[in-house]
Symmetry: C2
Subunit: 336 residues, 2 copies
């Protein structure tokens, strides 16, 4: 089996909660704990329980980003775990799913033409020429990425919350200056990605020309699992977003202006693309409240469902109160 | 001693090159290898050489970002190493300095008014109001940060290279929703930061509204060491940039529109600020070729020198040839 789903589950032990990487074949009913499966395999090969525990822990950390840094060695262990299921290595059926990737870097593109045409129209503009010349992107706060069922915090500096229906791309192998022909060899798989956005501060900040910042970094969600590319028809996946059970957005990966291979290649052009990077496609056409003239309310439940990638569900929290804001400054030479 | 300089040096051993964290009091002539000092201290306390090696390696990894995740425990070990210098723990005098921080996140502000006024004037604009309302910033590629004496790659997609004279701020303790009153407790210290920039592609990309991207991520430089805040008069540090020995830029941290405490607090507003984060101040007024009407040439040597932070020197490489570029697309409904 090369076709796999990757996820992470929480295990609470004597030293507190820890993350465990789990895998499953696309149609499997249960998750296999990769470290446990490798430990049992090593024991069958004659390793002492203590040595098997040490080796399996070194090879299969709780972080998927760190695990991917181990290269082919880790990917082979994961495939073996899914193919040769040992009952003792199954994750508990009620285990809580964590964000499947704890990214070492996070970069978001704007690769769906219908979205940037719609968004520009609302601002009374036409899209910039550069959006047709190359896939434009910005980096976000990788430490702010949350997982399935996590509550999305509502920061104190916004009154306008939105979701964004995006395709997430998880990088397995590092690279630099890749081409579209080689780029897909660096991809682990795809995942639902909800780039929650605070529209009021986003619009304000973007007038400075440095892109979105506080409007994006408070918490974007990924999950519930990563499906490897070879298990998907990545060029034509149906994309859906529901708010409180009502379908708000529908689209398809077939409307991407740039292919996944082109996005990955350009992400690596002239700069390092790290193992464990999460790339966002940008919002699919009609894939956010901004385009629909609708906004989220506190407590709303947003579900994203891309074909083959499960359902990512998150509830929006209540607005934070208090919180520090900078004191405005006066301009040089101003008489204010 | 609380006042310290932190750096990292390269050590080549039987398993290849590895990074070692070193520290020194502000006026000390030699660097102390923190892991070696801790190992020797443990041995003096009766630990076996093997146990002392295991414990010191766990507490003092080669990554400063990872070391900072160990919290006060690591900072105390580092201070002890600098205060109680054991001759056997000194780093070789000719050891090569690496980038002092291998950041887990990198975020750049635009906090010097004179710079954004000058840059706006060159574009025939006045600065956006938001630049006086809050410290605006964007995230960059943390994996692209290089160190002292490293050659700066010249990407294939640019013909216009520039430097930027910036103050770097290194975060020791993680936080979220800090205030200016608490923010400085989260700062390890300050460092020279050169945000090398590719002006042609930067200008092109920024027309999309998502900020700089390829114009920035190919390689920014930090170093040669980090000086702790308590050893500096951070509010009035002279800043200088030289190109091939000629002074191009002079400024001072006293012209910051927002204090270091305000920058750190706002960086953490509503989002996680990770240990090991590198914050850039943005360019000081007159601190780049763009403001001076000058550009860098292949092979140019750029030196940054902020008072108390040493000299950061980097040579610019030669333009890369080849390299993939995206094929432009036609607009929806276009008849091209």
């Amino acid at each position: 089996v090369a076709k796999l789903r990757y996820a992470r589950v929480e295990h609470v032990g004597p030293d507190g909660a820890e993350a465990r990487i789990v895998v499953a074949a696309p149609q499997a009913q249960r998750w296999v704990d990769v470290r446990a499966a490798e430990r049992l395999r090593l024991e069958r090969g004659g390793a002492t329980p203590r040595a098997a525990r040490t080796l399996s822990e070194a090879l299969v950390p709780g972080s998927l980003a760190l695990a991917l840094e181990r290269g082919a060695e880790f990917l082979e262990v994961a495939q073996r775990a899914a193919a040769d299921v040992d009952g003792d290595a199954l994750a508990p059926p009620d285990a809580r799913l964590l964000r499947p990737i704890d990214p070492t870097a996070y970069r978001d593109f704007m690769a769906f033409e219908e979205h940037f045409v719609n968004a520009s129209r609302r601002l009374g503009r036409t899209p910039a020429d550069v959006l047709y010349m190359l896939p434009v992107s910005y980096f976000g706060n990788a430490h702010a990425i949350v997982g399935p069922e996590d509550e999305i915090p509502w920061p104190h500096y916004t009154e306008s919350m939105d979701y964004e229906l995006e395709l997430g791309i998880v990088i397995a192998r590092p690279g630099r200056d890749l081409t579209p022909e080689t780029a897909l060899d660096h991809v682990l798989g795809l995942v639902n990605f909800n780039d929650f956005s605070a529209r009021d501060i986003q619009a304000l900040e973007m007038t400075a020309g440095l892109g979105p910042s506080k409007g994006k970094h408070f918490g974007s969600a990924v999950g519930p699992w990563i499906t490897t590319l070879d298990a998907l028809d990545a060029d034509d996946l149906a994309m859906t977003a529901r708010v409180n059970g009502e379908t708000w957005s529908q689209g398809s990966t077939s409307t991407l202006l740039w292919s996944i291979a082109e996005l990955v290649a350009w992400a690596s052009a002239g700069e390092p693309l790290a193992a464990g990077t999460l790339l966002g496609s940008g919002t699919v056409g009609g894939g956010c409240g901004l385009e629909l003239g609708r906004a989220l309310q506190a407590g709303d439940v947003v579900e994203l469902e891309i074909e083959g990638l499960g359902v990512l569900r998150n509830r929006l929290g209540t607005p934070a109160s208090g919180g520090w804001r900078p004191q405005p400054r006066t301009r040089i030479g101003s008489t204010d």
